[in-house]
């Protein structure tokens, strides 16, 4: 049985149909990336998966059961800043534990080690406005991961980072994922990132009425190093194959805009 399934999902905003008839299955522990031109509805699909947005048609199944309301299994790293501006980095990360009834002292203790894992061990008492965009993203990542969700929804989490930090974080994500094999739905603009991280890359068409137009299994061996794997012939072959399809859509989105 699939862990998460989109079944003929359509989402309309008023008269504008953003996505139409999207069907997608994520096996337990699978790492799936969603790529597509800007505005095609990737964030919209993540919102649906998180239970924040009800589809206009179709449904989302979580472990075979239709999803009603918020998705209890999901941790969602939003595309926009979503951490609380009035809490320090440490308190932001501790918060999900506090929501679950952990006392502040203990929650902060555990938050500290998560901040270190995302490379922010030196900034526990900084407020979000005192951190860079990339640092805020990493606080968000720690905040999502500390709650140990079984489903991880990530919306372009690393796009604000420089190349080095980005590869560091990608490897760190893969290492963490390898530990307990969460199911991951990962949205990115960056096809290379998608291939390097995923078990499967899903390509969406340009909007409106965006659909899934291609699914590519990525049979690259694990564990992977994202920097090294980019140089293998197999990677380049996959990249060429998927880019062939994606390029047309990107052009179409560009012409439509």
């Amino acid at each position: 049985m699939s862990f998460l399934e989109f079944r003929q999902v359509s989402v309309a905003f008023g008269p504008y149909v953003a996505v139409e008839g999207v069907s997608l299955r994520l096996a337990p522990g699978e790492f799936v990336s969603l790529v597509g031109p800007t505005g095609c509805g990737k964030s919209t699909l993540l919102n649906v998966a998180a239970g924040l947005l009800a589809p206009s048609h179709g449904e989302v199944l979580l472990e075979g059961k239709p999803l009603r309301g918020l998705n209890p299994a999901a941790g969602y790293l939003f595309q926009q800043d979503a951490i609380l501006p009035w809490k320090t980095a440490l308190d932001n990360v501790a918060l999900p534990l506090v929501f679950r009834g952990t006392p502040w002292r203990e929650a902060r203790e555990r938050a500290r080690s998560w901040l270190e894992k995302v490379g922010l061990g030196r900034f526990p008492h900084h407020y979000p406005h005192q951190l860079s965009g990339g640092m805020r993203k990493r606080v968000g990542l720690a905040q999502v991961l500390i709650a140990n969700p079984r489903l991880l929804l990530m919306d372009e989490p690393f796009s604000a980072l420089d190349v080095q930090t980005r590869q560091l974080m990608e490897n760190e994500l893969l290492r963490l994922w390898q530990e307990d094999r969460k199911t991951v739905l990962f949205v990115t603009h960056d096809l290379e990132e998608a291939i390097a991280l995923s078990d499967r890359v899903v390509v969406m068409s340009a909007g409106p009425r965006s659909r899934v137009i291609g699914e590519f299994p990525i049979p690259l061996p694990r564990p992977r190093d994202v920097a090294e794997i980019r140089l293998t012939p197999e990677f380049l072959r996959l990249h060429r194959e998927i880019w062939e399809l994606l390029r047309g859509e990107v052009m179409r989105a560009h012409a439509g805009a």
Binding site: L70, N71, F99, H129, A147
Partner: protein, 257 residues
């Protein structure tokens, strides 16, 4: 130092104005009967405080004002929170709130005197009708302006209603509430003084009304100065508290420490 220069200019301007007033009054360019003069006003204030005759009045006004401020703010914040979080109740009550707010509060003073007597209570009631709406509208606005992404994030991280109130709505509304507190203090004083002015046996408003009754302009101006200093002190106190509680915000451009 810039701050010092600024202060010198400010003090200089005041001294210049006072000197001109004194001079014009002494040389008969303005009529001392209508405008008094700074030295007389200063002397009067000195006498009030040295003989202690002003203290009972100051105490009454302070009491009225603090009670109006406290209860008006509490009611306003509570109702603001409630209506911001219960849109259907807000929709029902909206015209009533607008209508009540449209009443010029001064006309309520005689009614409150009738209902609650000449004592402290009628002034507190008048102050509350002024303070309440400031706190109410600001709290409502503050809660409505919470970033939806921050809110969704908190909910997905497991926040219940109580958590949301404590960690999201109230901190987000805090800066609005605090800016409203400073306006509220002014309104609470207006409520107290206008109430006293229109009918009472004690308070700064009563003092001013009495002086006016015997064409004692010095007394009127002295009362005004005491009131002014009184409000400035309270305002500074609230500013201090605000700075302690809302320190997460980026410092405003060009703000004076």
């Amino acid at each position: 130092m810039r701050g010092l220069r600024l202060r010198l200019w400010q003090v200089g301007l005041l001294l210049l104005f006072l000197a001109w007033w004194e001079w014009a009054s002494r040389t008969g360019r303005i009529d001392p009967f209508f405008f008094s003069k700074p030295s007389d006003i200063g002397q009067r204030i000195w006498r009030w405080f040295s003989t202690g005759e002003v203290y009972p009045h100051l105490y009454v006004t302070t009491l009225e004002m603090l009670l109006a401020f406290l209860f008006g703010t509490l009611l306003g914040v509570a109702l603001g929170l409630w209506l911001a979080l219960a849109p259907s109740a807000a929709a029902v009550l909206d015209p009533y709130i607008k209508a009540l707010n449209a009443i010029p509060r001064v006309v309520l003073a005689p009614i409150f005197t009738l209902w609650f007597g000449l004592g402290v209570l009628s002034k507190v009631a008048l102050g509350i009708t002024l303070v309440f709406f400031v706190a109410f509208f600001n709290t409502y606005q503050g809660v409505k302006e919470v970033s939806p992404v921050v809110l969704q994030n908190a909910r997905l991280l497991g926040a219940g209603q109580g958590h949301l109130l404590r960690h999201v709505y109230l901190p987000a509304a805090a800066s609005w509430i605090f800016s409203s507190l400073r306006t509220s203090i002014g309104f609470a004083v207006i409520g107290a003084v206008v109430g006293e002015y229109l009918g009472s046996a004690a308070g700064l408003g009563y003092l001013i009304a009495q002086a006016e009754g015997v064409f004692d302009t010095t007394g009127v101006f002295a009362g005004m100065v005491v009131l002014m200093v009184f409000v400035l002190v309270l305002d500074a106190l609230v500013g201090q508290v605000e700075r302690r509680l809302v320190h997460w915000r980026p410092k405003a451009e060009g703000a004076q420490g």
